[in-house]
């Protein structure tokens, strides 16, 4: 555990996270009956809590990795309310262990924590998270529905929705041009994308997607994205029934991933490893499927035009036949939570409200590099986000388009974390790469994967009773 004064780069954090907390990139649910992803006329922007707020007093402890958007929000909150002290304790891998110890002890858990979707679902079911329904309900119409669902367990909210993560395709047109490949049209077919990727690999020695031999991290997007687009789900909303092998989404998604594997045009480097960053800076990675939060990490590394600064563009993901309506995916994206044992529940709620339900808070977190779910901000300010990675602001247009492609029936329950599809885990390792290598028949592999998931999920749910 380190105090904020000790620095840790984003890259170092992600390295540690990639080793240890792959489950942290999991997520959760959205009800079929939820409202549309992006209302045409969002409500008027809410102002930050006013009136007696100047008298707000108390201390908030937040646990999170270094260089965190919530840290920035904390600074802004303190500036607005001088009577409040916000302290960040830098914790990465050991966070879960320490939280468990505090929960068992009955005290010591942080006032604020940044939980992944499946963690919210897990801890919410355990009843240890602070119920913040009263606050979130006030802003329900102003928050992205799919993200709202991730914070909801059995109709109650156990966190304030954090960053939204619709995946898009990032490309460097200059590298495409070097290979004689025209910049992608808006609606490129997946098969054509792979042909282009092979050409770029041959002629410009650059990859348009990441596909490491271990299949972990960003490589998993080659499966996750078609799975999402084709309507796949790991489980139902309750998290009790495993749907992974229902329908053909999983089988087809594996087949699509195998096409990318067989094309051999992906970047074979460990996600967030030094070779990975070196490849990006040397132009060996000319494209990648990516969630918006990756921009913050990219911008930390890509600091000059020579390394690609200002040379990227963003387009909506390629088309998977039959999956045109949802050509995106959600990967990562956390929720701001607290625990029932917090001694300052009201202050916690005010902070949550400030951070993700006011223009001011949303702007602070967006300046860090994430995309807040606050619709009044999304519809008016997203286009103005200061960034250095992309050549123009069309990436925000793409992001806005991707927001409309998000599903409201994609459930990131605890079973989603168990499956490992968010970037690795023992069940994912057991089946995914053998299917890629052709060592395991795809239909049989998906069936066995689902059966293992059923066994594991049943045990997990029993443990929560």
């Amino acid at each position: 555990m380190f105090e904020r004064t000790q620095s840790m780069s984003r890259r170092r954090f992600l390295k540690a996270a990639a080793f240890g907390v792959t489950g942290a990139l999991a997520a959760c649910a959205a009800p079929a009956a939820a409202p549309p992803a992006q209302p045409a006329q969002p409500a008027a922007p809410a102002e930050a809590p006013a009136a007696a707020d100047g008298e707000l007093k108390g201390e908030l402890i937040f646990w999170g990795h270094a260089d965190h958007p919530i840290y920035d929000a904390g600074q802004a909150f303190m500036k607005k309310y001088p009577g409040v002290t916000f302290t960040q304790v830098e914790i990465t891998d050991e966070r879960t262990t320490k939280v468990e110890a505090a929960l068992a002890a009955g005290e010591g858990a942080p006032d604020l924590n940044w939980l992944e979707a499946n963690e919210v679902q897990l801890y919410g079911r355990r009843g240890v998270l602070l119920d913040v329904t009263d606050v979130v309900k006030q802003y329900e119409k102003d928050l992205v529905p799919a993200k709202l669902a991730e914070a909801r367990v059995s109709g109650r909210y156990y966190g304030m929705p954090g960053d939204i993560t619709p995946n898009t395709l990032w490309v460097r047109p200059d590298i495409l041009e070097k290979a004689g490949v025209p910049m992608f049209e808006k609606d490129i077919k997946y098969e054509d994308f792979l042909i282009a990727a092979k050409t770029v690999k041959e002629k410009a020695d650059s990859s348009l997607y990441v596909f490491g031999a271990d299949g972990g991290g960003q490589s998993s997007l080659m499966f996750q994205c078609p799975f999402y687009a084709l309507g796949g789900n790991i489980s139902d909303e309750s998290g009790e029934e495993i749907l992974f092998d229902q329908g053909d989404a999983a089988v087809r998604a594996v087949e699509y991933a195998k096409m990318a594997w067989d094309a051999g045009a992906g970047l074979d480097a460990g996600w967030f490893s030094p070779p990975y960053w070196a490849a990006i800076k040397e132009g060996k990675l000319g494209g990648t499927y990516s969630p918006p939060w990756m921009r913050g990490f990219f911008e930390t590394e890509v600091k000059t035009p020579e390394t690609g600064q200002g040379k990227w563009k963003s387009v909506v993901l390629p088309i998977y036949a039959g999956g045109e309506k949802h050509r995106t995916n959600v990967w990562g994206g956390a929720t701001l939570c607290s625990y029932t044992q917090t001694k300052v529940p009201d202050l916690v709620k005010r902070f949550m409200e400030f951070t993700f339900a006011t223009m001011e808070g949303a702007q602070v977190t967006a300046d860090w590099g994430i995309v807040p779910p606050y619709l009044p901000w999304l519809t008016t300010k997203l286009k103005d986000v200061k960034q250095t990675l992309f050549s123009d602001q069309t990436w925000t247009d793409t992001l806005n388009e991707a927001l409309t492609l998000m599903r409201e029936d994609y459930y990131r329950t605890p079973a989603y974390g168990l499956s490992g599809i968010a970037g690795g885990g023992p069940l994912y390792d057991k089946y995914f790469i053998p299917m890629m290598k052709g060592e395991l028949d795809i239909e049989a592999g998906v069936k066995q994967w689902a059966d293992d998931l059923r066994t594991e999920n049943k045990k997990l749910l029993e443990s929560l009773k």
């Binding site: 929960l103 068992a104 897990l122 271990d214």
Partner: protein, 320 residues
């Protein structure tokens, strides 16, 4: 009859009570002595006995964590692990393979280097000792990260060097056997320093006169090694085999950082499975696996002791 029983049991009860009183009187007499040794027992009770008993209870319970009560489920956690866990079988095989592979090669390597360092005419022995011990004092996390970079298939220095002599890139971390070799190399690199030092200490404690006598009797270096050195190292060897076995069955951090259990779970160990269960909110099963691992260690240690004892007895008889 009842009266008779009462009469006969009353006597030993009175004797026991007197004995207890005598013991307490004796303890009170030495209370200051007990006070001085009490910190160890307090620490042992709090951090050793209590967690073990609590863990055992947890392994027989279902517990959602936090401050909720445990629910007794008997042996269900153990049965579930042994009959339907989709990953434990693989983790067990991997752990045993790594044990069977790393234990003999690691000890043999350390012994050979220690014998070389023990040579009378070797100059700069201290420098060598420091060099060999250096990996032990280096952070395991850093070492694992550095190894992962060295061994990267496409960008690692090892394959770069192999490429210079025309050898194609080896998938050190992404294919089963090379990954197991990589883990072995890492563990040898990190662990041999301590093993070498322990062997060296034991070697230096062997009376030189034994070697001189053997030399006079016409024994060559190899005969001296097997007839004097190895037998004299028996206690140390036994200690090292048992501690290394325990360490390898509890293997976690290095593998987690180097391969994360991959590729395709080929370096996924029992300890990693236990950690995954605990991190996945399945505390009861995690605790049960911990005790199963303890049982595995006990069985293996017992077999090792029996084998080593019989080997020594046979050898002793032959010599006799």
């Amino acid at each position: 009859m009842a009266q008779a029983i009462g009469t006969t049991s009353a006597v030993p009860q009175a004797t026991r009570s007197t004995k207890w009183r005598a013991l307490l009187r004796e303890m009170w007499k030495h209370r200051v002595d007990y006070l001085f040794i009490s910190p160890f027992f307090i620490v042992f009770l709090v951090f050793g006995v209590y967690p073990t008993v609590w863990g055992l209870r947890l392994s027989l319970s279902r517990w959602p964590g936090g401050q909720k009560p445990m629910e007794w489920v008997g042996l269900n956690n153990y049965i579930g692990l042994l009959t339907s866990d989709p990953l434990l079988g693989k983790a067990f095989v991997n752990t045993m393979m790594l044990l069977g592979w790393i234990l003999p090669t690691g000890l043999a390597f350390a012994l050979i280097v220690a014998v070389m360092l023990n040579a009378r005419r070797l100059r700069g022995r201290g420098i060598f000792r420091t060099i060999y011990f250096l990996p032990f004092v280096t952070s395991g996390v850093i070492v694992a990260i550095v190894f992962s970079q060295f061994l990267d298939k496409n960008y690692g220095w090892v394959n770069l060097l192999l490429g210079k002599v025309g050898i194609p890139p080896v998938p050190w971390l992404t294919e089963a056997i090379p990954a197991q070799i990589s883990v072995t190399l890492l563990l040898h690199w990190m662990g041999s320093g301590t093993n070498i030092l322990i062997f060296l200490g034991a070697l230096q404690a062997i009376d030189r006169e034994l070697y001189e006598a053997a030399e006079i009797d016409g024994a060559n270096a190899v005969q001296s090694f097997f007839r004097i050195t190895v037998p004299m190292l028996r206690p140390v060897l036994l200690f090292m085999i048992i501690t290394a076995t325990i360490g390898l069955i509890n293997l976690y951090a290095q593998v987690k950082l180097l391969t994360n259990g991959g590729p395709q779970n080929n370096t996924y160990t029992m300890f990693m499975r236990m950690m995954d269960l605990i991190a996945g909110n399945r505390f009861g099963e995690g605790a049960a696996l911990g005790f199963l691992m303890g049982a595995v260690i006990l069985v293996i240690t017992f077999v090792q002791l029996r084998l080593l004892r019989s080997w020594w007895t046979v050898e002793g008889n032959l010599k006799g």
